[in-house]
């Protein structure tokens, strides 16, 4: 596939690794923000190729991990209501709430459907006018334009049975929270390539300047990640702290102006709780008042659903890069390789599951 395959070239990867090796003179701790980047690092075994001085810590870049328990419980409460067609991306199916997960709800008779695009839900709403169709709208800014369009179109098409349960989270406030923490170890960021394709990168300039931390907006393929890492460590070695764009083929400084306009029409910024971190002010989106007719939190009787997060545990610290999964006392005992460990998990493969596997591998195979 064009614009994918060439970024998985083994020789280029080796060249970039060599260049990184030649560049580093001391240890550096880098964080990749996006779950998709973590996934790629794990899938290709990237961090194993890097020189020991370059440490990658995985950021809070995954809706599976950061959607708060209370929001999951509210989603599940809606899914349990008879007659509701509950639509979701596949990622959320197995995330447990306080009382089971969507698999269980499906087993109990809930109508849970996986969709690829929020527009698919509109088709369902049209096909089943007598039933409420609800879409679990999680994600970073990347997905906000799609979710916004679904509401916009629902209104334009006069659909009265469609709603969104919004749990959007924003990246810059999360980065600020991480950098503002006194235990922060992160010295450079690999910025979220597709979030920036939508939002541009201007929001990251004040962060880079204020905290004196380089930010390299990076893509998702192995060559992108390696190039991004190279650019980041070069900045670190040179004592620079600016925003650079590795992913120039897909990202511009202004991002997608039309998409941002639509986000602004449909959503407004609000405070949001992040699982494992807590409330980060002004770090989420919610529907604007004129779209309250499509707000699942108002349509369904779920205001009384509350959940207390267990005490902030190591997963929060893993999320913020303070600790590694194997620092967790439950690592390998309560949390086994079969159950992905830590809130930095991404899908069944899991960053932390892979961490564990990699660690297990290191123990058994001497290199």
């Amino acid at each position: 596939m064009k614009y994918l395959d060439e970024y998985r070239d083994q020789r280029l990867a080796a060249t970039l690794v060599d260049e990184i090796r030649r560049t580093v003179t001391r240890p550096w701790t880098l964080m990749e923000v996006c779950g998709g980047q973590t996934h790629s690092i794990v899938k290709y075994g990237l961090d194993e190729l890097l020189p020991a001085q370059v440490e990658l810590v995985h950021g809070p870049g995954c809706p599976v991990c950061v959607t708060p328990l209370e929001m999951i419980d509210r989603a599940h409460a809606i899914a349990r209501q008879p007659g509701v067609i509950f639509c979701s991306f596949g990622d959320m199916l197995r995330v447990p709430g306080s009382n089971g997960d969507l698999y269980q709800i499906k087993a109990e008779g809930g109508d849970v459907r996986i969709v690829y695009s929020p527009l698919d839900c509109l088709k369902l709403a049209r096909a089943h006018p007598e039933r409420p169709v609800m879409f679990f709208a999680i994600g970073f800014e990347t997905t906000a334009p799609a979710n916004a369009m679904s509401v916009w179109q629902a209104r334009a098409q006069g659909l009265s049975n469609f709603s969104l349960l919004v749990s959007h989270v924003l990246v810059p406030p999360a980065i600020a929270a991480i950098l503002g923490s006194p235990q922060n170890r992160v010295q450079a960021f690999l910025g979220p390539g597709h979030v920036c394709a939508v939002m541009g990168w201007s929001e990251y300039e004040p962060l880079a300047e204020r905290y004196r931390v380089p930010m390299v907006i990076t893509g998702f393929e192995p060559i992108d990640l390696l190039e991004g890492i190279l650019m980041a460590v070069r900045q670190c070695e040179q004592g620079r702290a600016t925003v650079e764009n590795q992913y120039a083929r897909a990202v511009t400084r202004d991002g997608n102006v039309e998409a941002r306009k639509m986000i602004g029409r449909v959503f407004e910024v609000c405070d949001r709780a992040w699982r494992g971190i807590g409330v980060i002010p002004q770090s989420g989106y919610r529907l604007r008042p004129e779209f309250h007719a499509y707000d699942a939190e108002r349509i369904f009787d779920i205001q009384s659903v509350h959940a207390t997060e267990p005490e902030i545990c190591i997963s929060g610290q893993v999320l913020q890069g303070h600790k590694k999964p194997h620092d967790c006392p439950a690592f390998g005992t309560q949390c086994t390789p079969q159950t992905p460990l830590g809130a930095t998990m991404v899908s069944a493969e899991g960053a932390c599951a892979a961490y564990y596997n990699y660690g297990r591998h290191l123990v058994q195979v001497s290199r």
Binding site: M1, K2, G35, G61, L119, T143, P192, R249, E258, A259
Partner: protein, 91 residues
């Protein structure tokens, strides 16, 4: 968060209400919404996330940066070649 795949616009669709296109992803086709890329046209490569084209692939930029990488690669080869004492040794 943010699985987006590059694909080529091969057909502009006549859908009422929302601008849609048929996109070719390496031989697999899917509809994508073009509302956020009003200037995108036939033959353009776009990044598609959950059924929406969110940015155009800047093909010149891609070619340019890939060329830079290739040159780095060739330079590395050259250097490796120069460092070899035994000309028959394979790097």
């Amino acid at each position: 968060m943010c699985l987006a795949i590059p694909g080529k616009i091969v057909e502009l669709l006549d859908t009422p209400g929302v601008k849609m296109a048929k996109v070719d992803f390496g031989g697999v086709f899917r509809e994508a919404c073009l509302e956020y890329l009003p200037e995108a046209g036939l033959g353009d490569y776009v990044m598609v996330h959950v059924g929406f084209a969110i940015s155009r692939v800047d093909e010149e930029e891609a070619a340019r940066t890939y060329q830079t990488l290739r040159e780095m690669d060739q330079l590395a080869d050259l250097e490796a070649g120069e460092l070899l004492e035994d000309p028959h040794e394979v790097p």
